[in-house]
């Protein structure tokens, strides 16, 4: 099975295999280009020798022979280099945790914790909303109380006003006044009876 080296890709920003492939293709291209350069230089030099019996075809065969040999060794050596680099350099050991993943070490049972926290938070939010409603209701009652208190105080003031009127017109104590008036009217009735009797 192929190790995708995803964790290494997270750190480096590229997969190590991609990096090695890029390097391999580049090296291979340089080898081919340089060989072509060698061949073209030789061809140019051969043009300078009119007695030269080497054909371009023969030269090409020599180039192919040398290139084949070089390519074989190149592939073997590159394969070893790739192995070493992937194991020792472009590799994150199994016991190593990258700094950005430290949180996973702190919260290993995060799935259960996440769910429990979500539930708790939901409950707290509901509680807060309820308290906010309760606060509004309490403040509304305070306003209502102001109105009711004002009305009740008005009634007491009305009683005060009534008593002030009575006092203004000379009657601060109705009980005493009525007792006095009742006694006086009884006296007057008695005097009238007396006068009527004496006149008869």
């Amino acid at each position: 099975s192929v190790n995708p080296m995803a964790y290494e890709a997270q750190f480096f920003g590229f997969t190590p295999q991609t990096c090695m492939l890029r390097v391999y293709i580049a090296f291979q291209d340089y080898l081919f280009e340089t060989m072509l350069l060698v061949e073209s230089v030789m061809l140019k030099k051969m043009d300078g020798f009119p007695d030269c019996k080497i054909s371009p075809f023969e030269l090409r065969k020599s180039t192919e022979k040398f290139l084949l040999f070089m390519k074989e060794h190149f592939d073997k050596l590159f394969s070893k280099m790739e192995e070493v680099l992937l194991q020792l350099v472009l590799n994150i050991p199994k016991n190593v945790l990258l700094p950005e993943d430290k949180v996973h070490e702190q919260y290993p049972d995060s799935k259960e914790q996440f769910q429990a926290l979500q539930d708790e938070i939901h409950q707290l939010q509901e509680q807060y909303r309820a308290e906010a409603s309760a606060g509004q209701a309490l403040r509304a009652e305070l306003e209502e109380q102001k109105v009711v208190q004002a009305e009740l105080e008005k009634i007491l003031q009305w009683f005060d006003g009534l008593e002030n009127i009575c006092r203004k017109y000379g009657t601060s104590n109705f009980k005493e006044s009525f007792t006095f008036l009742t006694q006086n009217s009884k006296k007057l009735q008695d005097m009238l009876k007396d006068v009527e009797k004496k006149s008869k």
Partner: protein
């Protein structure tokens, strides 16, 4: 360090490649040309090797610059050094983002929970004070009712 190992491995690769493509092998392959111009063959070979080495080294340098590999290698060496006492395998992404994101989100949820607990406490305290005023108001209204009743009874 990784940077050093990287440089050494690449240098070793080049050395061995150059050793494999020796002058003897080169001359053997280009025998016809070698017979014609032995000195020129040597010169061409030397240039070939020099050019190949230069190109390969330049490519490696470009890869290192593009990927910021020097800095990354040093950083990774430090991280590996810090974890040297860890024997257990470390956490790795599970491949299920919904699960992995939980750990990242949990600290924020904990903070949010603490914040909600705090504001809830503040709100409860606020309401407690308002409730005190409400109860005082009710007492006052009850007292006013009693006084009105007393005045009514007095008139009666």
């Amino acid at each position: 360090g990784r940077a050093q190992v990287f440089a050494t491995v690449v240098d070793t690769f080049l050395e061995k490649l150059v050793a494999a493509g020796s002058y003897q092998r080169f001359a053997n392959c280009y025998r016809c040309f070698y017979r014609l111009q032995p000195e020129m063959t040597r010169s061409i070979y030397d240039q070939f090797i020099a050019q190949l080495q230069t190109s390969i080294k330049e490519e490696i340098q470009e890869v290192k610059n593009e990927g910021n590999l020097e800095a990354l290698f040093n950083s990774l060496d430090k991280i590996v050094e810090e974890a040297k006492n860890q024997e257990e395998p470390a956490w790795r992404p599970s491949g299920i983002p919904e699960e992995d994101i939980c750990s990242t989100v949990v600290p924020y949820l904990l903070k949010h929970k603490l914040y909600l607990q705090k504001v809830l406490k503040v709100k409860e305290e606020e309401n407690r004070k308002v409730a005190e005023s409400v109860l005082a108001g009710r007492d006052r209204i009850a007292e006013l009712q009693q006084r009105i009743q007393a005045r009514k009874h007095a008139w009666q």
